[in-house]
Subunit: 243 residues, 4 copies
């Protein structure tokens, strides 16, 4: 993975988050405006799992940005898989607890769910939210750092998950698994590989998260059901990662 | 399997079908009214694959039968998997071409789709319709006669297939495969085993068949896609049958 | 309306239906092959409500007709309202009982549902099926003969009915009514007018009809619920017809 | 309306919000723990439109609260309209701009959409979010203060909106309007009256709101489309309020 970015509310928030990151010992790099076209000043840091994140407060809207005056439900009829937004990434590495701690302690994320080996106390998966989504980023235990498990895009409905499945099969796109549901987050989902070998997810549903939700916990023994609620078993292919 | 029954339009049709069965050398047994409560005279025959079928023209309606006067969309809110009707059976045996021939030649069924080993010309699956459904009965090649692969029940939508999947997982019902789609018939489907070990299907969709549709043919090499349009591979469990 | 056509199974059926029409006093015109490109010999008749129907047994398939060899769920991704077939017409005129009788007595249709003024015994709507559909043609009482109420196209799901509604609103297509459900047939539906002023319906669902279903009957007092199951009242606009 | 409550993150937030309310001249009442069973200390204030709001930080979970250990998608199969949560209220009164200002200036809400009479600059509707929802509360212009337009409950899908419509019709619940879609928020919706005459909404969908979204604006001339995206006209019944 090159980088994953989060937009913060104000430029002042950038300074505040930078300070909080430094306070817990995370090295912070300040990238001046203009490195990416249309993007303002950025704060960059790397997690113990070797994933690079950037925070920024300003990004220009595209010329055909959101309609705001008597806006229609859409301007152009949705096509293809009908993804409505990028949703989250799942990132793989060794010390995921340390990476997750940064998001909780310095960046106001909440842990919504964890997959835990109760015997050793090891976290196998940690799901983090800074919104009403079940996850904005997730970390998955893996023997190698800096890897990406999947990038995920949001669909409006289970109907659209089925339509995505039709598209995947019709055009001989490489299916990973689905349509199925996750136990964790409850999302209804399908995974496929793009021509570069990256795993992508399109999904719908999932619960609406509030910060006062009690944290959910899945035992390692229930990992199958946690990940694939219907199949209740993991498959080897899903255990792989990409760069 | 004990028996699968089809209701014909009139009592006279029973005689006509009996005659046509005899004409092509199928032994016919006439069962007088009353063997089954509420069911009239029956015509019984056995296929070369050792499956017993019965035709009948009369069956009493239950006391809480269909509402006919300003009928509501339903009387009691649908519960559980929300199956709206029994739909079809898939039956397993050796000489499925011979069994299918009876339905075509004596009973006015059409073959909607076939799965064919083009090298040998062997039929591995034959799907037959006497309605606008993609299949009312199907025969699947299997080394042993008289077996049942599954009984199938109709759901209104892909949404209900997903709901069936939730029920199967929530109540630890034994999942076979799904939610997925069939290439053959295009049905959106999920399979599970009941406590007796019988495979059941709940499905929705599928095309609307007319007798002038050109017959669809799937090559044995595409059996995976024919059966599981998304996964494109068969699994061993799905190859099993029950009694 | 110019003409509504039904395809029959065989050329011999054309002769049989012609004879049966003549037997009940319906004038029949035989139109030789070639009047319509790709269409074989036709049998033409006019109902007492002055609607012209044609029966034919042969029609050429288009070059990009149905795929039959390992066929995909679709060749090109569905677009627009995603209609999968023409479904039925509703035709308006005075003596609809007489028109319906022709379809029942000479053409083997069944009356699935009727809207009846029980006081006078007058039929206000008669719905007829020659398939497993809730209606293949419907006649609606109207003071003038030879009019068309709507042509209807089939969608796969309630989800697609909602999508049709989005399209209608986004492109300022003239909405008649919907999304709603019919009491009669239980179809989930939306009506709109094309630029020529013709009313079109796109709908999904509806029950699966079998000829042994008891006929459903709606009282004129329940006409609102019969037509618009949710609103339970008719609107004036829906009472209009087109040519 | 008696009162509408919002839960805040921490007890300290209560003090901070109380201070900010006082700073902009809003009278604040502190209600000690225990007035409502299981609810902690509350901050109460009244808007210029005479609606009473309470903020609280602590509320006990019910004994059968959310499952947190290997949690299933649901414990008991969803029934009835399958509402998954209370979502928002729409409240009616005269000076809605003044009421909305309190939520923006003292409570960190954002205005997501407005319905505006551009000639006079008068706000006819103001929609406010403190989450990723398109609205958590809305104010609608009305000649009388302190009234409630509707309370709204969230459904998972358009499929469930259709199911809610079936329930409303089947059990002769008083329908207001729907199934339809809102232009504002894009929610897919149906409104009905409970036996006390209160308007309730069940809806699904709607966009996912982020605070950096440009504010959407609807002209009074497009009020029909803003409220009922399909019908594009308001009806008199929807203009009524309840106590």
């Amino acid at each position: 993975m090159d980088v994953m970015g989060f937009k913060v509310r104000t430029d002042a928030d950038l300074d505040q988050f930078a300070e909080r990151l430094l306070d817990i010992g995370v090295h912070v790099e300040v990238v001046p405006e203009g490195e990416d076209p249309g993007v303002g000043r950025k704060i960059r840091f790397k997690t113990p799992t070797q994933h690079v994140f950037e925070l920024y407060a300003d990004m220009e809207l595209s010329e055909n940005g959101p309609a705001t005056r008597n806006p229609d439900v859409w301007l152009a009829e949705p096509r293809g898989m009908r993804a409505t937004r990028f949703d989250h990434c799942a990132l793989s590495g060794v010390d995921i607890a340390a990476s997750a701690r940064i998001f909780v302690e310095a960046l106001d994320f909440s842990v919504t769910e964890e997959l835990v080996d109760e015997g050793s106390g090891t976290r196998l998966g940690i799901f983090l939210s800074c919104s009403n989504k079940a996850h904005d980023v997730a970390f998955l235990g893996y023997p190698e750092d800096g890897r990406i498990h999947h990038a995920s895009f949001y669909l409006e409905s289970w109907h659209d998950v089925g339509h995505a499945a039709d598209i995947i099969s019709r055009y001989d796109i490489s299916l990973d698994i689905g349509p199925t549901r996750h136990g964790i987050t409850r999302g209804q989902t399908i995974y496929f590989f793009d021509p570069s070998g990256n795993r992508n997810e399109t999904f719908s549903g999932g619960y609406f998260y509030y910060p006062d939700h009690p944290q959910r916990m899945w035992q390692a023994e229930s990992a199958g059901k946690a990940i694939f609620y219907y199949e209740k078993v993991l498959n080897d292919r899903f255990m792989t990662v990409t760069t």
